[in-house]
Symmetry: none
Subunit: 211 residues, 4 copies
DNA sequence: TATGAATGAGCTTTCATTCAT
DNA sequence: AATGAATGAAAGCTCATTCAT
């Protein structure tokens, strides 16, 4: 017995919970498995979180925060639009390789039918996206690259969709496998990520550049 | 007591199971709820499917088949490339509005970490996509619209990603909400679907047409 | 596995639950112990009763019903007031010896602080007493034995108090022991019950008859 | 951290434990709630009492002592028999209104089926009663009021029963409600207590005076 | 010596699965 | 062959008790 969960243990708890939830989903994850992974007792989890649901929410929070931080930081004022978008893609690839569970958590929410939980998170998560896209659009305008015949909001939607699928493709077994089918077996090599980023930039430039 | 589950009852079972799994996910769905929805007994489900898992797999199979059929049928030889792609988009929108659970099932697959289930399904599903894309590419070639500087496989991947997100956006609460944030609250009006299809076509034409 | 809990098993379940609750009280009683005593599985209890609380309520109902039936039947129209009261005492003694748990259940409710549970039962239980006392009072009036200087409602209260303590004295270990201290070690002999009834009649006659 | 629980803190602990046990019963009461009520830590309770059970026993002891003290003191040598009995009744009413938990504790003992706890307490408690009744009887004899045809031990038993029910009627929700049904809704007014005492005296005088 | 967080056994409840009818 | 009640393993959660500080 220890006097108190150390800072590390608390972090580990959250990290392990994210893994468990990411792997099994809210319903199938078990609190005792999370406790075991974390080397602590079941009971103590309930000292920190009211119940399994609350732990899940905390995991979402943590994931969303981290994702937000990383993605936001790749869109700096110094970079050009093109550099920013490429930075976003590369950061996504790296982050998803390192913390696949964070994205799987994200993926997991989207299954929930309830407006309360799911939609509440939608707001929270999209607020991050919004910040990023606002920045990108101002860049785009200052660089004079704005296709006039397009709905910028829908194009932003498509862009975000592509990014999101990139996240899943790098973090969920299924999507990774699918990506390999499309893009070849070299999916875990490092150069692959560069190549994919290149192609995605081409795709986006064409889409946004218009004719 | 009935002689045997009729064809209709078996179909209803699958349909209801898809709804239940689509709504709650594998873990949270209950066999007895499925039985109840279907107006049959729990016991008989176990005569047709070894266990809950097997029923789930059958639902995946059924969903994938149906989606495949519908999507394939929207890419006919008679149509031009543009007509085919637009057909794919419109069919996806309609199908997802009518049978959201089919897509949610699809979504559910992607949660599974195991190579057995997930990867097996990846093959199965992508075989369908492959057929479609083979057809599309042959159209593209015959129409002389092939951007030469692009990796066609990766561009196909991006295209499929966009389509997939379209599916989710029309079938999962979370993604629908997100789409509304991007594209406005009119998301359930009929004209909205047309408009979105238009914009998506523009996006794709730019991307594939390149400069 | 049986097709269905037989009528006997259902009765046994209730009976055993009454014993368990009577012995340990609501909080300390365990559902699995009740299942074990009854030779059935835990799960099936939840098919018959929504939860432990509901089972407890059902036990109260059953106890109260039985007590009511027995006590009511000992106050028949044919009997005189004196015979009726004595009948009530003797019936109480016998019933409490045979079904101590029924009275312990009764005793158990009285611990509950909530007006909802406890008071609701108070009404239900006292309705039974009310019927009995109404009958007794009409007998008393017809026999011309009514002390005029007394509050009949309060005297009824005292009488019921004495009867209640009689119940507890015959069904709870503590009260039995206490009765033995007062009335001698012969408390479980049969003649003792007769003697006690005699003395109680004397006590009551004095009280009600006045001087 | 304090040096040692002060006298007051120890008393408060006992007092609060009595309240908690009185309100919830042994099983439902929680040690940490008692600690919280008392402004001390859980751990220290285990320095003073081996376990929850032991604390409960100590609470019983304390309750019984207090009740004994108060009741004994209302039967003083100076008072006549009648004054003493009335004093006992009035003291019971007041005490039960002020310290309902003490009586609920007492009530709680009676639930315990074990000879160890329950019977041991019976002895302890009845020793107190014994002292009181010895005093009362000597008064009765000196006043020449002794009904010769009655078993004095059984009559004492009945008398104590009435007193006990009085205690419960003033301290437990259930019994209070029941008393209101019998004696009217005015049960919490002060004059009510007087009236009830009067009637009880009449009842007892009749019973003991006999014809 | 007091603290109060950690422990983990144990309780209630659910539900996949079985099998007597 | 279908039924649906019974089974019982397993989960979430609580709280008496311990012990590092």
């Amino acid at each position: 017995m220890q006097k108190k969960l150390t800072e590390e243990q608390q972090k580990a708890l959250l990290e392990n919970a994210i893994s468990e939830f990411g792997e099994r989903g809210l319903a199938a994850a078990t609190v005792s498995s999370i406790a075991e992974r974390s080397g602590i007792s079941v009971g103590v989890i309930y000292k920190y979180y009211e119940n399994k649901e609350a732990l899940f929410e905390a995991c979402l929070d943590a994931s969303v925060s981290l994702l937000g931080d990383v993605l936001r930081s790749s869109v700096t004022k110094e970079n050009s639009l093109e550099e920013s978008v490429r930075g976003l893609i590369r950061a996504s690839q790296n982050l998803a390789r390192e913390h696949p569970s964070y994205f799987r958590m994200y993926h997991a929410i989207t299954m929930r039918p309830d407006a309360k939980g799911a939609s509440g998170y939608a707001e929270r998560i999209e607020r991050i996206s919004a910040e990023i896209y606002t920045e990108l659009i101002s860049k785009a305008e200052s660089e004079g690259i704005v296709r006039k015949d397009a709905s910028s909001s829908m194009f932003a939607f498509f862009f975000d969709n592509l990014l999101m699928m990139l996240h899943f493709s790098y973090s969920c077994d299924y999507y990774r496998h699918r990506m390999e089918i499309y893009c070849g077996e070299s999916a875990d090599e490092d150069s692959f990520d560069e190549r994919l980023a290149d192609e995605m930039m081409k795709f986006l430039k064409g889409a946004f550049g218009g004719k």
